[in-house]
C-alpha cells in the first residue's frame, strides 16, 4: 500500500457519496415506472433511472474495492442502513408530482454534469473512465429535464404554479451540492476527486438561464439544509431503503 490510510478512507467515503446520490435518485425515478403522465415520459424517466443506477453500480463497486473489506456493490446498496448512506438529502425526497421530479432532476443533473466533467480529469483512471461515461448520459438528462422545466414553467397557469412550487420547495436542498469537508478536501488535494464548491458559479449560471426562460422566479431564501453527507437524513430515506432492500435482506445470497 502506497496510499496513506486516511487518504484511502477519504476516497472510499467520496465514492460512496457519488454512488449513493445516484442509487437513491435512480430508485426515486424508478417509482415512476408505470405511472408517467404519458408513455414517452414513463420511458424517459425509467431510462434515466437505469443510467443512474448503472453509474451507482460502477461507483459503489469501486468504493468497495478501495475500502478493501470485500464489500460488493450489492452489499453496499442492500446491507447498509440509512445512517450509513452518504447521499444528498435532495435525492431522497419523495417523487412528488411530475413538476417536482423534473425540477429536482434538472437541479441535480446540472450539478452532476459539471461534477462528472471535472472528474474525467481524476488521477484515478477508473474513476475518470466512469465519469467520462456518465458525462455522455448526464447530458441527455440535463437536456430532457431542462426542456421540461421550460415547458412547464412557460406553460399553463397550473403547470407554472407547480413548477414554481417545486423550485421553492427544492431550493433549500441545493446548498448541500457545494459543501466540502475533510473528505472532499483530501480527495481534491490527492487529485483523485474534487472540491464541489468550485462548481457553484457555473451551476448557478446554467440554472438561472433555464429558470429565466421558464418564466420562473429563483427563490430568494438563503437557508440551506445539510447533513446527508454525514448520514443525517430526512425521514424519507428509511422508507425508501425499506422498499429497496426488502428482497435482498429477506433472502440473503439469493440469485436470479
Amino acid at each position: 500500500m502506497t496510499e496513506q490510510p486516511a487518504a484511502n478512507d477519504a476516497f472510499f467515503q467520496y465514492l460512496l457519496r457519488l454512488g449513493d446520490d445516484r442509487l437513491v435518485l435512480g430508485h426515486r425515478l424508478s417509482e415512476w415506472c408505470g405511472h408517467g403522465p404519458i408513455l414517452e415520459e414513463d420511458i424517459a424517466l425509467a431510462n434515466t433511472a437505469l443510467d443512474l443506477i448503472g453509474q451507482a453500480n460502477l461507483l459503489l463497486k469501486l468504493s468497495g474495492e478501495i475500502e478493501g473489506q470485500g464489500r460488493s456493490a450489492d452489499a453496499l446498496a442492500y446491507f447498509r442502513d440509512g445512517i450509513d448512506y452518504r447521499n444528498l438529502q435532495m435525492v431522497e425526497l419523495p417523487k412528488g408530482d411530475f413538476a417536482f421530479t423534473i425540477v429536482r432532476q434538472f437541479l441535480f443533473s446540472s450539478f452532476a454534469l459539471l461534477q462528472m466533467d471535472a472528474l474525467t480529469k481524476s488521477s484515478h483512471p477508473e474513476l475518470a473512465g466512469i465519469a467520462a461515461k456518465a458525462v455522455k448520459e448526464t447530458k441527455y438528462h440535463v437536456r430532457h429535464s431542462g426542456q421540461w422545466v421550460i415547458t412547464l414553467g412557460d406553460g399553463t397557469a397550473e403547470s407554472h404554479d407547480r413548477a414554481q412550487r417545486a423550485l421553492d420547495d427544492l431550493w433549500r436542498y441545493t446548498g448541500e451540492f457545494f459543501l466540502s469537508d475533510d473528505v472532499e478536501r483530501t480527495v481534491a488535494s490527492e487529485g483523485v476527486g474534487l472540491d464541489p464548491s468550485t462548481l457553484e458559479p457555473a451551476w448557478r449560471q446554467q440554472v438561472e438561464d433555464v429558470v429565466r426562460r421558464a418564466t420562473l422566479m429563483l427563490p430568494s431564501s438563503t437557508y440551506m439544509q445539510r447533513g446527508g453527507r454525514t448520514g443525517r437524513h430526512t425521514e424519507h430515506l428509511g422508507h425508501l431503503l425499506t422498499e429497496m432492500q426488502i428482497v435482498a435482506r429477506s433472502h440473503p445470497g439469493a440469485e436470479w
Binding site: 420511458i43 443510467d51 467520462a132 455522455k136 447530458k139 441527455y140 437536456r143 430532457h144 426542456q147
Partner: protein, 165 residues
C-alpha cells in the same frame, strides 16, 4: 487442453457471429463494444466496454461471448470490462450503419452541441422505411437506453433511432 494455434483474428471472427441481443442485426464487433482481444497459453481475454453504464444486456452479452468462444474450442475465456475510453456511436462503422437502417433503426448522427437549445425543434432525421425527412422526435428515450423514439409524418410509421452518444 486449448488449441494454441488460435490467433487474435480467429477470435474476432468468432465474435463477429455474436449478435447484440437488443439490436440483433449487429454483432458485438460491429457495435464497437469489443475493445480488445488477446490470446496467450492460459486463456483468451476479451475486453468489453458497455454502451451505457446501466446497460442491462451486458450480462447476456458476456455469456454469449463466453459460449461462442468455448463452442469453437478456443476457451477458457476471461472477460474484462473497461470504461475508458467511453463508448461512442462514432465507433459504429458505415457498413453497420447501413445494416441498422435496413433493419428499421435510424443510424446515429453526431451528438448535439447545444445543451438546452432555445428551440424545442430537433433537426429531423431520415425515416429508415420511406426515406422521408419529414419526421419528428417523440422522445429522446426509447425501448432501450441506446434508442430514441421518432415518428415519420410521411409514411405514418413510428421508428427508433440509435441515438448519438
Amino acid at each position: 487442453m486449448r488449441d494454441t494455434a488460435v490467433t487474435r483474428d480467429d477470435i474476432f471472427e468468432v465474435l463477429s457471429s455474436v449478435m447484440d441481443p437488443e439490436v440483433p442485426v449487429l454483432s458485438v464487433v460491429e457495435l464497437g463494444i469489443v475493445r480488445d482481444v488477446s490470446v496467450d497459453e492460459s486463456a483468451v481475454t476479451v475486453t468489453l466496454t458497455p454502451t451505457y453504464s446501466g446497460c442491462p444486456a451486458m450480462h447476456e452479452i458476456e455469456g454469449a461471448i463466453r459460449r461462442a468462444v468455448l463452442e469453437h474450442g478456443c476457451g477458457p475465456v476471461v472477460i474484462r470490462t473497461t470504461y475508458s475510453p467511453a463508448w461512442t456511436t462514432d465507433w459504429i462503422t458505415p457498413a453497420a450503419r447501413a445494416k441498422l437502417e435496413a433493419y428499421g433503426i435510424a443510424p446515429p448522427e453526431r451528438d448535439d452541441d447545444e445543451l438546452i437549445p432555445l428551440q424545442r425543434r430537433v433537426k429531423s432525421i431520415r425515416c429508415p422505411y420511406c426515406k422521408s425527412m419529414n419526421t419528428e422526435r417523440k422522445s429522446a428515450f426509447g425501448s432501450t437506453a441506446c434508442k430514441a423514439i421518432w415518428f415519420c409524418r410521411n409514411c405514418a410509421q413510428p421508428f427508433e433511432e440509435f441515438k448519438a452518444i
